[in-house]
């Protein structure tokens, strides 16, 4: 049954639609103006393309990378590292959080260590990682995991521990085992926190990966940026940065899409 829509409501809906359109137009507009102005200033030689590059030179560079057969090689190297690090840190961190929820004594013992690890700037561990793990992809992934795992443990453990005591009592009164409390209550109850965490980690994983590639790498977008800056090829630096932006945005939108699906299910 469709409710009857009043005229005023129709006008309201129309206004909302116009407003939404306006915002989208402005968002696209900013991008177009930015790129256009950049290209124009470069063409008028007001800015020095040697250090600022320009949109057309970026497109040219992408073409060159593509023809050299290197474009997708570098993209996939970084993407692979970012995704592997993301998965290991998110799932591993959640698993550790589950173990710490399960064993409260262990949680209390490890609490100060987690706090210290959390405040430590992970980049400081870079040289140690290289020496211990070796020069290669595994070092980069390790750096990436370190960036995410502590915050993953802390936020998931927080979510687990915030589950209502009264609901736990209810399950206990129905003779539930600890394992049942975990998978019937604690985990589903923490789902929305888990999704928020995915959104945080999907941003952090790029920080970790690029930081890792800055430290040690033979390929990847971070490598291209460092390499480009060393040979003063700003076209390469800008190109890699832009590709990175696009990849990060894509991955974020995928997670945001999953979040929307889950929330729709929860709020239906």
């Amino acid at each position: 049954m469709k409710p009857k829509i009043s005229n005023d409501y129709k006008i309201y809906l129309k206004k909302q639609k116009i407003h939404k359109g306006l915002i989208l137009t402005a968002q696209i507009g900013i991008l177009v103006v930015f790129i256009g102005l950049w290209e124009l200033l470069a063409w008028l030689e007001i800015i020095d393309t040697f250090i600022m590059s320009s949109p057309s030179r970026i497109i040219k560079t992408i073409g060159e990378l593509y023809r050299g057969g290197n474009l997708f090689y570098h993209i996939f190297t970084t993407l692979y590292e970012a995704i592997i690090g993301f998965l290991i840190a998110t799932l591993g961190g959640t698993l550790i959080a589950i173990i710490l929820w399960w064993n409260d004594t262990l949680r209390r013992i490890l609490d100060p260590y987690i706090v210290v690890l959390n405040s430590l700037p992970k980049i400081a561990l870079g040289p140690i990682i290289i020496i211990w793990v070796g020069v290669g992809t595994s070092s980069i992934v390790t750096m990436d995991i370190l960036i995410m795992i502590v915050i993953t443990i802390i936020s998931m453990l927080n979510a687990f521990r915030q589950t209502s005591e009264s609901k736990i009592m209810l399950l206990k009164s129905m003779n539930a085992t600890k394992f049942q409390i975990l998978y019937k209550l604690i985990l589903p109850n923490s789902l929305s926190e888990f999704i928020s965490l995915l959104k945080i980690n999907v941003g952090l994983t790029w920080v970790g990966t690029i930081m890792g590639e800055y430290l040690v790498s033979k390929a990847g977008l971070g490598y291209l940026i460092i390499y480009g800056s060393q040979i003063f090829n700003l076209d390469l630096v800008m190109t890699s940065t832009i590709i990175l932006c696009i990849l990060a945005a894509l991955m974020y939108f995928i997670v945001a899409f999953i979040e929307k699906k889950v929330n729709n299910k929860l709020n239906s």
Binding site: S164, K167, M169, L170, K172, M174, N175, A176
Partner: protein, 248 residues
């Protein structure tokens, strides 16, 4: 027939802040099929008594025995002030919860629960989520979730306190009807004297902490009267005054 007996029960809580003597010398019995209310000042140890009966805690001293009358289970059901429905489960998912936990989700039990939902007008909401239901309906779902496990004793801890007054009166009536129809023994903890009077066969009055039993009052209402009708009666007024004086 006695279904429950507490014999000289003491309970002391230990924590790093010290010991709290919550219960002292609690002795009472509950007859099968009766509705017993426990009233007392807040913080005196009412919830503690229920936790002991449900087996969530062991007494420091004394004995609690439950007579297993329905020989298929000696399960003690527990209803809390909050309905504690799981927001991510449908109504059906919520009422099946206990059966899942106890691995008793048989065809027979499912049918029993479905019938309860039908009988108490919740069947058409079975695929809805808790937040789509009113507070009163949610509390009824919580009751059916507990009844699904066929408890021999049902514990209600301030089960109606979170509802607004109007809803509370109605839900009280509904729940009472369900409890009586399903022939469950019920023990209600409340700080609402009128509520206790309107529902109970017996009222146990507790002292301040550490709780001891100050008085037991047997009520002689006509059992067919609804709680709402009882509230206005002369006997209710008399008993109210008596309890009020005890609690001062």
């Amino acid at each position: 027939m006695k279904i429950l007996k507490l014999d000289n029960v003491d309970l002391t809580y230990f924590s790093t802040n010290g010991e709290t003597e919550a219960l002292k010398n609690i002795t009472f019995t509950v007859d099968s099929g009766d509705f017993v209310s426990i009233v007392g000042p807040s913080g005196c140890g009412k919830t503690t008594i229920l936790s002991l009966i449900s087996g969530l805690m062991k007494p420091t001293k004394g004995k609690i025995s439950i007579n297993n009358l329905k020989n298929d289970s000696s399960f003690v059901g527990y209803m809390f002030q909050k309905d504690n429905l799981f927001e991510w489960r449908t109504i059906l998912g919520n009422v099946y919860l206990g059966l899942e936990l106890q691995k008793r989700k048989t065809k027979e039990n499912i049918e029993y629960v479905n019938n309860l939902l039908k009988k108490y007008n919740l069947w058409e909401f079975r695929n809805k989520y808790p937040k789509q239901l009113s507070g009163g309906m949610r509390q009824r779902v919580a009751l059916i979730r507990t009844l699904a496990l066929k408890p021999s004793i049902l514990l209600l801890d301030e089960a109606f306190s979170a509802l607004d007054y109007q809803t509370r009166l109605n839900v009280c009536d509904d729940v009472y009807k369900i409890i009586k129809q399903e022939k469950v023994t019920a023990i209600l903890v409340t700080h609402d004297i009128s509520e206790a009077i309107s529902l109970s066969d017996k009222i146990i009055i507790l002292s301040k902490r550490p709780a001891t039993i100050k008085k037991e009052i047997n009520l002689t209402f006509d059992k067919s009267q609804s709680p709402l009708n009882r509230r206005g009666s002369n006997e209710a007024k008399k008993v109210f005054d008596e309890i009020w004086r005890e609690l001062q």
